[in-house]
Assembly symmetry: C2
Homo-oligomer: 187 residues x 2
DNA sequence: TCAAAACCTAAGCATACGCTTAGGCACATA
DNA sequence: TATGTGCCTAAGCGTATGCTTAGGTTTTGA
């Protein structure tokens, strides 16, 4: 029939994701995406429709990429200890070179805030809700905790992992490990 | 000699600060600043030299604005309880309308990351270091804590307040209060 | 009263943005 | 090998960005 695409969408998407991850949404231009993805603007628009389209797909690619450690958390049966491991895994995940890129979802929430497109925002909310539900599941493995405690601690853990995401951009390893240790001292 | 400025720099700076606070650095344009500050581009450049100049001064204005609650923390003599009060004060401070603007410093770190201009970055670092030293001072008021514990807990508190800043943009009051309560159960 | 200093207005600079499109080029089918 | 589908190149659209500047206006001290 006709010519085939000379690139694999999932491959160029992975590269786009890294760019958004590092620079955020607004600070990533189509020209930058062109260079990083290695394809022309025409191809970008043909495959993803718009810059926002690339971004939405990038969030999904991010989800897939982080699934390695979320799966691990989901399968863990050792309660709080599994969550602690997730914190450590996340820190490793967020790291690149000496400084961290943080979490792409956290970065985006912080950048776009309430003005974000509803489509984007609902994807981010879904992501966060999923992590929290995993925390809840693991907290439930401790039979001593009542429902109220579990909810409170899950909220605290969400707060802590968000903090870790930002902190990883400005603090050193020792400081970050201190934080994790203290988070898990009393829960 | 000559004509006087028809605006007060500190006044227009306050308005610029709020714009940067809400939108971040890159998403705030000179045209937006023009409207918000109520003065012409010429005047902006005459007074502040560049967009970055406005921003650097805005950070200082922010520092001054938050000084009300940092002073309160500095003067407090009730140890951890004083820090907890600071957390609550900060949440109130970061709030506007129903959703929060977070902390301007946190927002900027998260947006610009390591690529930020050294001038901007050193201002942000100074700000964060100051908060941490206030935490350390208050932790020292508890004679039971050794130096190692104080350092570890200060790092944890920094992590938590950063988290609170981001969390305030996406979670409700109950969730945020849960977090604060749990933070102070752990130290 | 008047010249000079410093202001403000508004037009415009070069560049970058997100996005579109004409036209040539490559390739799977026949 | 001819054909026609659909990809890729690259030029360009309108708009927005950060910043500058000519020229008129206001205020000051002599």
């Amino acid at each position: 029939m006709a010519r085939k695409k000379q690139y694999i969408e999932q491959e160029v998407l992975e590269k786009a994701m890294h760019l958004f991850w590092r620079n955020g949404y607004e600070n990533t231009s189509i020209r930058m995406l062109e260079k990083e993805m290695g394809i022309n603007q025409f191809s970008i628009y043909a495959s993803f429709g718009s810059k926002q389209g690339v971004f939405l797909q990038s969030i999904k690619a991010y989800n897939k990429k982080i699934q390695g450690i979320t799966d691990k958390l989901e399968k863990s049966q050792n309660g709080v200890e599994g969550i602690k491991q997730y914190f450590k895994d996340f820190l490793e995940f967020a790291k690149e070179d000496d400084l961290s890129k943080g979490c792409m979802v956290t970065n985006t929430v912080n950048e776009l805030g309430k003005d974000a497109d509803p489509l984007v925002m609902s994807e981010l909310k879904k992501f966060a809700d999923n992590i929290k539900s995993l925390f809840v599941n693991n907290l439930k493995q401790d039979r001593n905790k009542n429902a109220e405690t579990i909810e409170r601690q899950a909220n605290f853990l969400m707060n802590s992992i968000l903090g870790l995401s930002v902190a990883s951009k400005m603090f050193n390893d020792k400081q970050l490990e201190d934080s994790i240790e203290t988070v898990f001292l009393n829960i």
